[in-house]
Amino acid sequence: MNLLTLRSVTKRYTATDPPAVDGVSFECAQGEIVALIGGSGSGKTTLLRVIAGLEIPDTGEVVLNGTTLNSPTRFVPPEKRDCGLVFQDYALFPNKTVSQNISFGKGSTDDPARIGELMEMADISGLEQRYPHEISGGQQQRVALVRALATRPSLLLLDEPLSHLDPELRDSVRTELLKLFRETDTTALFVSHDIEDAMVMADRMVVLRKGTAEQVGTQLEIYDRPANPHVARLFGKTNFIPLGLLPDAPHSFADETGDGQVVPVRPHQWQLVENSNDGSTAFTGKVVSTTNRGAHQEVLLQTENLTLTIHLPGNTTVKPGETLTVSCDLTV
């Protein structure tokens, strides 16, 4: 059974601007970790705040654990909702110690042993008497996390949990978070603008753009069968080849102008072809530029009417002006 269900949730802040969230529906199962992913202004944070009860949507329904939280006739205030929220900049009470922060939530003091366990797991034991300004940013985040988990919410919401971390820390924090979610059997919904976070941490993701959900699915589904050029580009550079040139392609979608179908081909799916007469899927063109990217070379190839981005092995030597023939293998 679904833990969380959203049905066509719409929220607009002003009369004139387009809605921040526009008819979004998705579900989230018990124990699942779901990422809401999108750029700035995609409505991902608004959606999180609607679920937390901090914003009232204009229309739509939110159901958690069988309880309707939002509907046209119902609004459950945030303090009565069975979900916790970890704020992007943590929102720790500066006038309270770590332990006072953690025990602030409703029902958090019912089971002192659990708080000890959570603090142990989050590696913040021993900081109980410190004030938020006396501990590091990473520790603050874990305090915020434990504070939210201490109320035993059915659903944990996280707003950009990794945005404040530098790249080296990111990887280890992702792993730690995942471990903590699994150990506490937490269902989590987190917002991120970073596709890598979503790829590593989430079981499923919801891709948002301009307030609408463009695609909902597992990473593989979305990576392999993106719903449109925007979703395809989320995972990095993508070539859009007209379907007519690759008639056997397993997946295609309408291009941005809506004029025709295109096939997404990723740069690494190209390879050099020695014999240019080898089948109909070969493309021949002139090298415009090459950029060394360490493990691979990024080559811009200008064919008759397409500019292709191609990744070739790092040891290949190609020079601008050379003529190359490439074909694509959509199975890799």
Binding site: T14, A15, L85, F87, D89, P94, S108, T151
Partner: protein, 547 residues
């Protein structure tokens, strides 16, 4: 255009409907009702703009024009002079370097501690000093010219006295605005070939405009509120007119219509302020990392700057204070007795009660509107704090009206009780406490309140465990300012004080109008000394962003 207006209205209506459906609770209902209740006296006065008054036509044809003219001349003169004094000294202190600058930086605020009526009493003989001039005019020009001149002379005299103690409102905000601008814009202008003068006119001044206008608005409100000074110098203004019509002529309906006219004028001024401050959003400057590189002044210019700062300080503070101190030294023995102790305690007691009540009400109103995101409570908050712009005499009339209606309906007699007096002060000074609390809440508590909600805390728990501890400074400051404002207040106290109830301010006033001006200096000095406390505090606060 029309379509977007309709669209907007629909959107607002939908939001309000949503609020009524989902966010109506005990807190918001109580806050809305309390806000409306505090606004009621002002609404009652406004309502009387059309109510019948027997002598209204007579009043309108004879005195309304005079009061309007008197108030207008006084407002324009005082505002203009305060602008000149406040902005020039602020620019010198914030952006130029000259001997004594650091002293003037704080000293220029001191006149704020002197209420307008006390300044007027300290200069009580200013007009008399001009008598030789009048005599000269009568003998050498004509008696008519003398009459005209003596009528007109009250304006510059009153204007100078009022501006000398009110200019710090402009000085404070302008100085803060100038030093907040930092060096970036000035440096950009300098690299583009602009000297100090054009930096001032084209960069610093336009950037500081919204702040300066807000300070100027306070000067105007205080000018309109003044009763003691204009009465003393004999300027025909709305406040003196209301008192005269009501007390001397016994014409309550007429006085009410006058008060209503004044309310309309004030609402117009408030709208004007809002309109003039339009664009304030775009003028927010981010705190620059480097402070302003002050322009060093040459010897001649430094001397001039010194003089510029010295004149308002002497006229607005040093001279009146030393005069009062001198008189006090002569009369203290006579004035200081058990009665004086009693009225000092009266002042302190009423001011303390008002400070506490105002802070609690302001905290409740601001918290409820912000915590529940309530549009309705937000709107009634704005109505309730309007009292800061309304002269005390007008509020007092409104409260008397409401009290009269209560008496009619229930038989309870409320007028003449301390509770009504305190309620009146609360209405008059609510904004003084509400503003810092509301701003502090927006700055420090907005997100923490959301965190508190998602952690399942009740509103009361959020209020007392999160907001109150974090707003301690704002609460103390708000209470302190209200305390002092109450100590200084005169017109409202004169109207609503219970029989036989004297405070420091009414005692000062009574003594002056019993021609015991030297004796009045003792209570006046007490008021000034107490008023210095928040002035010092304010100065430290306003300087903080510079460090």
């Amino acid at each position: 255009m029309a379509a977007s207006l309709v669209n907007n209205a629909q959107h607002r209506l939908r939001r309000l409907a949503r609020e009524f459906r989902f966010r109506l609770n005990g807190w918001t209902v109580a806050a809305v009702l309390l806000g409306l209740f505090l606004f009621l006296p002002m609404a009652e006065v406004l309502w009387h703009i059309t109510s019948p008054a027997e002598n209204w036509e007579h009043l309108r044809d004879t005195v309304l024009g005079r009061y309007l003219k008197g108030s207008a001349i006084l407002v324009v003169g005082t505002a203009g002079l305060s602008l000149l004094l406040g902005v020039s000294t602020a620019w010198l202190v914030a952006c130029c370097e000259f001997p004594g600058r650091r002293f003037f930086e704080w000293a220029l605020i001191l006149p704020l501690a002197i209420p307008t009526y006390i300044a007027a009493f300290a200069y009580f003989d200013l007009l008399d000093r001009l008598t030789p001039l009048l005599i000269w005019v009568r003998t050498n020009i004509s008696p008519e010219a003398m009459t005209w001149l003596s009528d007109m002379m009250v304006y510059p005299v009153t204007t100078v006295v009022l501006a000398a103690v009110l200019y710090p409102y402009v000085y404070l905000v302008a100085r803060a605005a100038f030093s907040r601008q930092g060096s970036r814009f000035a440096e950009a202008a300098q690299t583009l070939g602009h000297g100090p003068q054009s930096v001032f006119w084209y960069v610093a001044l336009p950037l500081a405009r919204p702040a300066i206008i807000s300070g100027l608005a306070l000067v105007i409100m205080e000018t309109l509120n003044d009763y003691g000074a204009v009465k003393h110098f004999g300027v025909p203004t709305f406040t003196t007119g209301i008192f005269r019509t009501w007390v001397s002529m016994g014409d309550l309906p007429g006085a009410l219509r006058l008060a209503a006219c004044l309310m309309v004028l004030i609402l117009f001024l408030l709208l004007l302020e809002k309109w003039l401050r339009f664009g304030a959003k775009f003028h927010k400057t981010s705190p620059s990392d480097r402070p302003f590189q002050r322009y060093p002044l040459g010897q001649a210019k430094a001397g001039l700057a010194l003089l510029c700062c010295l004149v308002p300080l002497v006229i607005g503070f040093a001279l009146p204070l030393s005069r009062l101190a001198y008189w006090a030294s002569l009369t203290a023995g006579k004035v200081l007795d058990a009665t004086f102790l009693k009225l000092t305690l009266n002042s302190i007691g009423v001011a303390t009660a008002t400070g506490l009540a105002t802070v609690m009400i302001a905290l409740f109103l601001a918290f409820t509107a912000r915590y529940f995101g309530s549009q309705a409570a937000g709107a009634t908050n704005r109505l309730a704090i309007l009292g800061y712009a309304v002269p005390g005499a007008v509020i007092a009339m409104g409260v008397l009206l409401v009290a009269g209606q209560v008496t009619q309906a229930t038989g309870w007699i409320l007028t003449g009780s301390l509770a009504v007096l305190v309620l009146c002060y609360v209405i008059r000074f609510l904004a003084v406490a509400w503003q810092p609390i509301d701003a502090g809440m927006e700055r420090n508590c907005a997100q923490l309140n959301q965190a508190s909600k998602t952690l399942g805390a009740t509103p009361a728990r959020s209020l007392f465990h999160v907001n109150v501890p974090l707003l301690r400074n704002a609460l103390v400051a708000g209470g302190l300012f209200v305390f002092v404002d109450t100590m200084k207040e005169l017109p409202l106290t004169l109207i609503l004080r219970p029989a036989e109830f004297e405070t420091l301010s009414t005692k000062t006033y009574d003594l002056v109008f019993q021609s015991q001006i030297p004796e009045s200096s003792v209570p006046a000095l007490c008021i000034i000394l107490v008023s210095l406390l928040p002035v010092i505090w304010l100065n430290r606060q306003m300087r903080a962003p510079e460090q």
